[in-house]
Point group: C2
Chain length 444, copies 2
């Protein structure tokens, strides 16, 4: 199967990204997952049952969601349970979460009791919260241990696990007291108690119910490799690691860009096309209803248009331009909300900033359109009406584009959701109304 | 200054994200950078000169680009040089890259020779390549060393630097031979030579001229903490670390979303508004020219519209709906290109997928609009023309939305750049033409 991967390389990338000694045995699970996805479900089943459970488990973890669910649903409950047991409990919980309730129940019965308990504890957490993405396999050290004991304990654990990013220091009730890096431990005299090393620490942690995107912002802001997660009594539950954060950030960017225009949040080019259809159709229908509003506005002015049909040719320019101005503001604002913690005051200052940009752009583009239209038609009144309507609608577009995500956010909604559709409804209908209204009043 | 940060918390977040013992001394540089950004330039200068050079250097690294450039340009060349010397060379190079040539030259003269050389070497690399984002402070171990020697060397270096993520193993010519984790070293018998540990390794590395977004994709795909960067003779140059990758992914998401609608790639709500104006205006002017094309199409049918003004009310629905359908395809395709390595065949299969979705959405929405319009107007011909034009334009929108990023990519351009503007030009003008053309032929 490995040959397959290399048989269709993009020539440009092939020369610069090199792969050494990729024997099948040492192949990365992400690559195996890719190959699995290119097979039919029947072939996947055959292939996965020939792999050892550890490898199968790692590859399935890396598979794309839709493919993974289809495959897991077809495995025998025994084999599925064995595969889940070989995963870290948080990955197993993520996979089970996606499966049909009946299939999930059947697999659950086959899990060993301890694993089943751990996984079902994790399933209690909201999948979009810190608890839902945290890793529970962490190193917690008692604060009454000394530095040498801690190092010995880490060395003993190396056999079974990775070197921990950080050691989390807890008291006898598992309350989180501090975080130490391997470097801190190695630099301390062996007899120093861990609790003495924690002095004046700037400890950053999150509670399990914090939104996963807030966790991603903190890790990204402070360049951490992991962030500890605690319960409401500040007892250590787990940690979110930087590789999960990368996935969260990637997902969030896709979600924002796609939900802005009413595509599915988690759609990819690999999703079944019927899934995409189901996700998008409701928003397209909403969009028809919205455009019916602006069509109604135009309908009110049919008499005016019948007398002066050039208005029909010019009105899309107004709407289009205001829509584009608004989308620029929208994009910058949605990214702002994605990357920084929400700050109400700063956000409304940003709306003012967009109003300034919209005014300046409206004046400049309005002036250009005035010149162009007057040169073409020699109709001064028409050129003035067009320029004024355009400028006003562009200002409206800028303010609306910047405000819509904030209003959605204040309402507790996803700031991106269908924001582009709402924006266009506004800029279209108000643009048509301003332009045709001014024309009706001043040109006849 | 710390009190300031806490005086304006978002109540919701305040309760759940906790900060312990945030004395000013132990404050994270990212927080200090935020506070600096809220001060006037004069206050920033005063404040930064009171900080010790190490802290000032870390905080400036974390500042937003526009603020940072303004501040660095105002510092005395001596002080600026001292601050750059305290940074890692790659951060220093990034900052110098942004400054005016004359200011850069003045600061360069004050740098110590060794630092100046290292930084100017880094400035040779394209800032969007692996070389431009790599960290050169890495641990390279000679492959003829044994495991115990390697561990001793790491322990000795702990005083001056962080624990390395990975140890890169090189031969006597600094050719990269392999990568070992601390865990690999600790688990090996002390006498084993490093070269023996490299057996059958699946080594992944990039050449310095690989695009930084490709580096981000590799690190994200394989869950690495760092990826080694080599020259064309495979000699080790540095590594790109996961925290830089998070920044690259965040930037890319902003760039895609913003450049899609013709806003500046690196705009944020903190950019000077005149900067945003300058970035956006050219695209808005292009957009006017584009909408002039669709206005011209409508102009051709002014006679038809004058006879039947309801066409002017309905035509925006066609354009709007096709535009929205296209933007859904556009968003999914741009995210695909951002997240996975470009695969030509897979991408064109994705266009077919969008054509299917567009056809189905076109049929369903077309049928709904037919029913609605016929119920309202009892004009069968008009309802049929509208439904057919709408369905066809939605299919066109879907195919265009999916193809535009691919065509831009094949032309060697940014797949997102102004793609939404190009799309709207197509869906507007072809939508108007189809609808008004069918109406002119069949309704009179």
């Amino acid at each position: 199967m490995n040959a397959k991967k290399n048989s269709d390389p993009t020539p440009m990338d092939h020369a610069s990204v090199q792969w050494l000694a990729t024997s099948l045995d040492s192949q990365h699970p992400a690559d195996t997952a890719d190959e699995l996805e290119n097979l039919s479900l029947a072939e996947q089943l055959e292939y996965i049952q020939e792999m050892d459970v550890e490898d199968a488990s790692e590859s399935i973890t890396e598979m794309e969601r839709h493919d993974r669910n289809a495959l897991m649903s077809q495995l025998s409950p025994d084999f599925a349970a064995a595969i889940l047991e070989a995963m870290s409990p948080d990955d197993a919980a993520d996979i089970l979460e996606d499966l049909d309730v009946s299939i999930r129940a059947r697999i659950f019965k086959k899990l060993e009791r301890e694993d089943a308990e751990e996984i079902s504890d994790l399933l209690q957490f909201d999948p979009d919260s810190a608890g839902g993405v945290m890793n529970t396999e962490i190193l917690a050290l008692d604060h009454s241990m000394n530095a040498q004991q801690a190092i010995n304990l880490i060395r003993d654990r190396v056999e079974e696990t990775e070197i921990p990013y950080y050691a989390y220091i807890v008291d006898e009730f598992r309350h989180l007291r501090g975080v130490l890096s391997l470097r801190d431990l190695l630099l301390s005299p062996g007899r120093t108690l861990l609790k003495e090393l924690l002095h004046e620490q700037n400890l950053i942690y999150v509670s399990f119910d914090v939104d996963k995107e807030e966790v991603a912002r903190l890790i990204s802001r402070y360049n951490f490799l992991a962030l500890p997660v605690v319960d409401h009594e500040q007892r250590l539950l787990g940690m979110v690691t930087v590789d999960d954060v990368i996935d969260i950030i990637q997902e969030e960017a896709s979600e924002d860009m796609q939900s802005m225009v009413g595509a599915g949040r988690d759609e990819t080019v690999d999703s079944p096309w019927t899934y995409s259809l189901r996700m998008r159709l409701p928003w397209l229908v909403l969009n028809v209803l919205n455009s019916a509003v602006s069509a109604y506005v135009v309908h009110l002015f049919e008499g005016t248009i019948a007398q002066m049909a050039i208005l029909a040719a010019l009105m899309p320019i107004v709407a289009n331009q205001a829509g584009n101005t608004g989308q620029q503001a929208l994009a910058v604002m949605i990214r702002q909300l994605a990357m920084e913690r929400f700050n109400r005051k700063k956000s409304w200052v940003a709306v003012l900033r967009e109003a300034k940009i919209g005014t300046a752009n409206g004046l400049i583009v309005g002036a250009l359109v005035f010149l162009g239209l007057f040169t073409w038609t020699h109709n001064l009144g028409l050129a003035v009406v067009m320029a004024v309507a355009l400028g006003l609608d562009m200002l409206l577009g800028a303010v609306a584009g910047a405000s819509i995500p904030l209003i959605l956010k204040e309402l507790g909604r996803d700031p991106a959701q269908a924001s582009s559709i709402f924006l266009t409804t506004l800029t279209d209908s108000i643009g048509f109304f301003t332009f045709l209204g001014l024309a009706a009043v001043f040109l006849f």
